[in-house]
C-alpha cells in the first residue's frame, strides 16, 4: 500500500474499533477481546480485499466470509455497517429482542452475513463446503474467507475441515487463525496448549504464513501472497492480542466477555472511545 492507502485503511480500522466499543458499552457488555483482535483483519478484508456490493448482499459473484469464531460478531457487524450494508444506528440494537444483529451471526437476519455461526468449529466445515462448491461450479474468481479463533482449534471439527480443505486443495478458502493466545478461561497454553499453530497448519498441508495481526500492511500483503497459490490450501495465522488496540483491554485478564459494571471499566472504555473519536476526526480532515 502507498502512504495514502495505508492512511485510509488505518482510519477504517479506527472506525471499526470505535464502533465495537460504542456498541458494547451501549448495551453494557459483550465479547470484547476477540472482537478487538480481528479489527485490522476486518478492515483489510472490507477495505481492500473483498468483492462485495452492500446494495446487493446476495450478489452471486461476491466473496463470502465465514466468521467461525462467531462470538466476535460485533467486529463483523461494525465492518459491515461501515461498508454500507446497513445503517450504523442498527449497531446499537445488538442482542435486543427482534434485532437483526444477534450476538452470534445469523445469515437469515443480517445483510452481509453468509453463514450462521457461533457453535465453535462448525464454520470451518461450512466454509470448506462453500469453497468446494465454488470450485465445482468453476467460480474461479471467488474466495471464501474463514476466520477461526485459536481457542476454537480445541474443537476437533476444525481439524476435520482443515484436512478436507488441504486434501481438496481449496486454495480459494483463505483460512485465518486469530492467534490472540487467550480463550474464555485463560491463556490457550494453560487451557490446552495449542503448540505451534503455524507448524500444525503446515503439517496439515497448508501453505502457511504468520504475520502481525495489528498491521494492516502485513495482513494485506499476506492475503495477496496466498492468493498466488493455486494448488494448495492456504492459511494466515495472525499474531494478535485479545483486546487488541486498547492497552487497558489488552491487559485486562479476563476479556473474552466483558460486563461494563465497574467505574474502572466504564472509564477505560470512555477514554478509549474518546481517543478513537479523536483519531477518526483527525483522519477525516
Amino acid at each position: 500500500m502507498n502512504q495514502e492507502e495505508l492512511k485510509k485503511i488505518k482510519l477504517f480500522s479506527a472506525r471499526i474499533r470505535l464502533d465495537v466499543l460504542k456498541m458494547l458499552t451501549h448495551i453494557g457488555y459483550g465479547h470484547l477481546g476477540g472482537s478487538m483482535s480481528i479489527v485490522e483483519l476486518m478492515s483489510v478484508l472490507y477495505g481492500r480485499q473483498l468483492r462485495f456490493d452492500p446494495q446487493n448482499p446476495k450478489w452471486e459473484d461476491r466473496d463470502m466470509v465465514v466468521l467461525s469464531k462467531g462470538h466476535s460478531g460485533p467486529a463483523w457487524y461494525s465492518a459491515l455497517a461501515e461498508s454500507g450494508f446497513f445503517d450504523k444506528e442498527v449497531l446499537y440494537t445488538l442482542n435486543a429482542g427482534g434485532t437483526i444483529l444477534p450476538s452470534h451471526p445469523d445469515r437469515n437476519l443480517t445483510p452481509g452475513v453468509d453463514m450462521t455461526t457461533g457453535s465453535l468449529g462448525q464454520g470451518t466445515s461450512a466454509a470448506a463446503g462453500i469453497a468446494l462448491a465454488m470450485k465445482r461450479l468453476h467460480q474461479n474468481d471467488r474466495y471464501v474467507y474463514l476466520i477461526c479463533g485459536d481457542g476454537e482449534l480445541n474443537e476437533g471439527q476444525c481439524w476435520e475441515a482443515f484436512s478436507f480443505i488441504a486434501h481438496y486443495k481449496l486454495n480459494n478458502c483463505i483460512v485465518f487463525i486469530d492467534e490472540n493466545k487467550r480463550q474464555l478461561d485463560g491463556y490457550t497454553k494453560d487451557i490446552i496448549d495449542p503448540q505451534d499453530i503455524k507448524a500444525k497448519m503446515e503439517s496439515f498441508g497448508f501453505h502457511t504464513l504468520r504475520v502481525k495481526g495489528d498491521e494492516e500492511q502485513c495482513i494485506d500483503d499476506a492475503i495477496n501472497e496466498v492468493k498466488k497459490i493455486k494448488d494448495q490450501a492456504v492459511c494466515i495465522v495472525l499474531d494478535t492480542v485479545k483486546g487488541q488496540g486498547v492497552e487497558y483491554f489488552e491487559n485486562l485478564e479476563k476479556n473474552h466477555s466483558v460486563k461494563f459494571t465497574t467505574d474502572e471499566l466504564k472509564q477505560a472504555a470512555d477514554e478509549a472511545i474518546a481517543k478513537l473519536e479523536e483519531t477518526v476526526a483527525k483522519g477525516e480532515q
Binding site: D114, T116, Q122, A128, E160, A161
Partner: protein, 322 residues
C-alpha cells in the same frame, strides 16, 4: 398411487442399491444434486456414485461432523446434498452440525441414515440407534421418513430432492427386504397409507416391521379380530388427518416401531389421541430402556419383542381390556 405387492414374501432388490440408482438418476437430470459419504462408500454403494458422477460426489473420510457442515456449505451455493452414513452416526454423532449448520442456518441437508434400529444386526450396539427418529423429529421443520422397502426408499430420495431447505431424514435398511409395495408405486409425503382395512384394531407402523405386522394381522383375522394397518412412513409430518378419520370406531390402537417409543411414531400418535380426547387406548411397541446389541435380525427381533408373535400377543391383551 401405490399398489401393494402381491406376495409380501417376495424379496426386493437391496435397498441401498435402489437408493444409489435413484440418486444417479436424479444426478443425471440435475448437476446440482451431490452425494456425500464418510468412508462407507463400499458399504452403502455410494462408491458407485464416485465412479459414475465424480463431480457430484464428495468423500469426506471418517468425519461425519465435517460432512454435515460441508453439505450445508455446499447448499448455500445451490447444491442439493444427500449425505450417507449409518443411522447412529447421522443422528447422534453429528447431530449438532445437522441442527445448527443445517437446520438453524436454513441450509439444506438430505440424509440417508442406513441400517436403523435392529437392522444394524451384527455391527452391534455401537452401530445401532433407536433414538434417531426422536432426535430428527426434534429438529424444527424436519422431515422424517422410515422406508419399508426399496420402492418407498427410491420414491423418498426423489421427493426429498424436490426440496430446497431444511433437514430431511430417510432411515432405511441397506439389505433386500420383504416387499411391501409394487415397483413404481408413488406416495404423498405426509400422508399415511391404509394398507389393510379393518374395524376393531388400528395398527400404525412403518419401516422394517411392516411385513411382520401384516403377518400378525393374518393370524389376528383368523382369530376374529379385524385389523386396519396404516403405513405411517412419514413420521414427521405425521398424517393427523388420517388418524382422526380412522380412529373413531376402533376399539384400540397399537403403534409398532423399530425405534424408541420415546419421541417416536408412537409418541406422536399418543399426542393426537390425548389432544383430541379420542378416548381410546394406545399401546406403543418399540424400544424403551435398551441399547442395541449384536446378533442377526431374527435374534434381535426376539430379544426386543418385535416379532409377529409379540404383536399378536399385545393386540389380544389390548383388546381383552376393551
Amino acid at each position: 398411487m401405490f399398489k401393494l405387492a402381491h406376495d409380501h414374501n417376495e424379496k426386493t432388490k437391496p435397498i441401498n442399491e435402489t437408493v444409489v440408482k435413484a440418486l444417479q438418476d436424479e444426478m443425471d437430470k440435475d448437476p446440482m444434486v451431490v452425494a456425500l459419504e464418510a468412508d462407507l462408500g463400499d458399504a452403502s454403494g455410494f462408491s458407485k456414485i464416485r465412479a459414475s458422477h465424480p463431480q457430484q460426489f464428495v468423500e469426506v473420510g471418517i468425519a461425519e461432523a465435517n460432512m454435515a457442515g460441508v453439505a450445508a456449505g455446499m447448499s448455500l451455493l445451490g447444491y442439493r446434498p444427500f449425505m450417507h452414513t449409518f443411522s447412529p452416526f447421522a443422528a447422534r454423532r453429528c447431530y449438532d452440525q445437522i441442527y445448527l449448520s443445517g437446520a438453524y442456518a436454513h441450509a439444506l441437508i438430505n440424509i440417508y441414515g442406513s441400517d436403523p434400529g435392529f437392522c444394524a444386526a451384527t455391527n452391534g450396539g455401537t452401530h445401532t440407534t433407536f433414538e434417531d427418529v426422536g432426535l430428527m423429529r426434534l429438529i424444527p421443520h424436519s422431515i422424517v421418513v422410515d422406508a419399508c422397502d426399496d420402492t418407498q426408499a427410491d420414491w423418498t430420495v426423489r421427493e426429498f430432492l424436490k426440496l430446497t431447505e431444511g433437514i430431511h431424514y430417510l432411515r432405511a435398511n441397506r439389505k433386500a427386504v420383504r416387499k411391501i409395495y409394487e415397483e413404481g408405486s408413488t406416495f404423498v409425503l405426509g400422508k399415511g397409507n391404509i394398507i389393510k382395512e379393518g374395524q376393531d384394531l388400528l395398527i400404525v407402523a412403518a419401516g422394517q416391521l411392516l411385513a411382520d405386522v401384516l403377518d400378525a394381522t393374518e393370524v389376528l383375522e383368523e382369530k376374529g379380530i379385524s385389523v386396519e394397518v396404516i403405513d405411517m412412513f412419514t413420521i414427521k409430518p405425521l398424517d393427523y388427518e388420517l388418524l382422526l378419520q380412522e380412529i373413531p370406531g376402533k376399539k384400540a390402537i397399537l403403534t409398532i416401531e423399530n425405534a424408541s417409543i420415546y419421541g417416536g411414531l408412537g409418541s406422536e400418535v399418543n399426542r393426537v389421541v390425548a389432544e383430541k380426547g379420542l378416548g381410546i387406548k394406545v399401546k406403543n411397541i418399540g424400544l424403551e430402556e435398551q441399547f442395541g446389541q449384536v446378533g442377526p435380525v431374527d435374534y434381535l427381533k426376539k430379544a426386543y419383542h418385535l416379532t409377529k408373535e409379540d404383536f399378536i400377543e399385545k393386540a389380544e391383551e389390548l383388546l381383552k381390556g376393551e
